[in-house]
């Protein structure tokens, strides 16, 4: 395969065939290929950062809602404890009242 044909294939830059094909090529062709390889790598980093930036922005936009949800869970737990304590107190009061009524 020629260099041009190899360049049309996926992931050609890291393929051994492409690297072999570059050997013995004129200096300007090898320089151009090397520059292209580095540019592609840096461009990939840029694109990945853009995607990641959007993901993080979407999450950050709603993180207060999630914090509220976490607070709700904590509040629900406290509520159960308070109900339990209230009922226990009520039970004790009613027990005392019942004892008083028996005595009467």
């Amino acid at each position: 395969m020629t260099l041009e044909e190899l360049r049309k294939t996926d992931g050609y830059m890291s393929s051994p065939a492409y690297k072999d094909a570059l050997k013995g090529k004129p200096l300007d062709v090898r320089k151009k290929a090397n520059d292209l390889e580095m540019q592609t790598h840096l461009r990939r980093l840029d694109l990945e950062n853009v995607v990641l930036e959007n993901i993080v922005a979407s999450l950050t936009e709603h993180d207060n809602d999630l914090k509220e949800a976490i607070a709700d869970l904590s509040a629900a737990r406290k509520k159960i404890r308070r109900v339990k304590e209230f009922l226990e107190t009520l039970g004790k009061v009613l027990e005392i009242i019942a004892k008083v009524l028996v005595v009467l």
């Binding site: 990641l52 226990e88 039970g91």
Partner: protein, 359 residues
């Protein structure tokens, strides 16, 4: 005094008429004989055996209720495990991105110098006349540094968001915990006791064992309903968060896969191919070991696919429980996907250890 009042009440009721009180039937005649001994004279009708059936039903319901709280505990455990695995993974993916970039820069630098030297030779320039090369390398290095710093900052933010999601599941775990069941049970027991002391002998009627069984059934129901309500209330934001997490995980996995390939290829070139093809030099001693390790350095595609599904599986499990679809709920696949993500982290760590030691 109370017995006398009740005896008067019985007296007002016509003879030969059965009076239903709770699940017993008292004959008025018997009742008139004396309220104090009325319990001994209870006539249990056949339908009273229904009580045993009801009790068995309650036991069955108890099992069902027990099974209802357990999925919430499993979901919260899976959510917490996901948070930990995802954070470990993003940290490792950042590390391998830096390594891949460094290897790429180093390889590019040596190629550029070699090409520049060839050019200088062709144009009969001296190596110290290669000024533009240094500028170009400098631009590449600074550009890469800026991009990587941005990546690290974004991954730190993503980790914070993932930790927040894991915080929700930790909160859910506390709410689905056994201590909550105990609190609810204590409350229900208090209510039973209040009913027992204030009403007409419910405690005597149902006996202690029955009360406990009944209380447990109610505890299970209340606890499961409470958890279901919490999940429903937060379903919208949680599903949104997990959708974005799903996208983030897929994105990071595909990036890590590429970086992993770069690290492997660059190391193969520098540690295996170059020493091998260099004529006039003996192969280094570590060449055999390096080659063996690099050939075996491989990420199973199935593992990658499975790991990428972790957030999706967790989201589906959450939806199933929030919609009360207990039959559809199965945490085992989600656990396997989270485990795949953890395994991927281990592979990346091994790669990092290797390139850190020899690269």
């Amino acid at each position: 005094m109370r017995e006398a009042t009740e005896a008067k009440a019985w007296a007002r009721i016509p003879e030969n008429r059965n009076v239903r009180r709770w699940n017993m039937v008292l004959n008025v005649e018997d009742a008139r004989d004396g309220v104090a001994s009325r319990r001994a004279k209870l006539r249990y009708f056949p339908w009273l055996s229904v009580r045993a059936i009801v009790l068995m039903g309650l036991c069955g319901l108890l099992c069902a209720c027990g099974a209802k709280v357990k999925p919430f505990q499993e979901l919260s455990q899976a959510g917490t495990a996901y948070g930990e695995a995802m954070n470990a993974f993003t940290s490792e993916s950042a590390q391998i991105t830096i390594e891949a970039n460094s290897l790429k820069l180093a390889s590019n630098r040596s190629k550029m110098i070699q090409l520049a030297l060839e050019e200088a030779k062709a144009k009969t320039l001296k190596p110290d006349q290669l000024g533009p090369l240094s500028d170009k390398l400098n631009v590449q290095l600074n550009g890469s540094n800026a991009k990587l710093e941005k990546r690290i900052a974004l991954l730190v933010k993503l980790n914070r968001q993932t930790a927040l999601l894991a915080g929700y599941f930790k909160g859910l775990a506390k709410l689905a915990g056994d201590d909550v069941s105990e609190d609810i049970e204590a409350s229900v027991n208090v209510i039973w006791n209040i009913l027992g002391t204030t009403s007409l002998g419910i405690k005597d009627l149902l006996k202690g064992q029955d009360i406990q069984e009944g209380a447990k059934v109610i505890v299970g129901l209340i606890h499961a309903k409470l958890l279901e309500k919490e999940l429903k209330e937060h379903a919208q934001i949680l599903v949104f968060y997990m959708n974005i997490q799903e996208a983030a995980l897929k994105h990071c996995i595909s990036g890590a896969q590429l970086d992993f390939g770069i690290v492997r290829d660059e190391e193969m070139a520098s540690m295996v191919t170059t020493p091998y093809v260099l004529a006039g030099k003996d192969l280094p001693k570590e060449w055999f070991e390096n080659r063996s390790q690099l050939v075996r350095m491989y990420v199973d595609l199935e593992l990658l696919e499975k790991a990428a599904l972790a957030a999706k599986g967790l989201k589906q499990a959450f939806i199933d429980l929030s919609e009360g679809k207990y039959k559809d709920f199965d945490i085992a696949p989600v656990t396997a996907e989270i485990q795949a993500l953890s395994n991927l982290v281990k592979i990346l760590q091994a790669t990092h250890a290797k390139s850190g030691g020899k690269g």
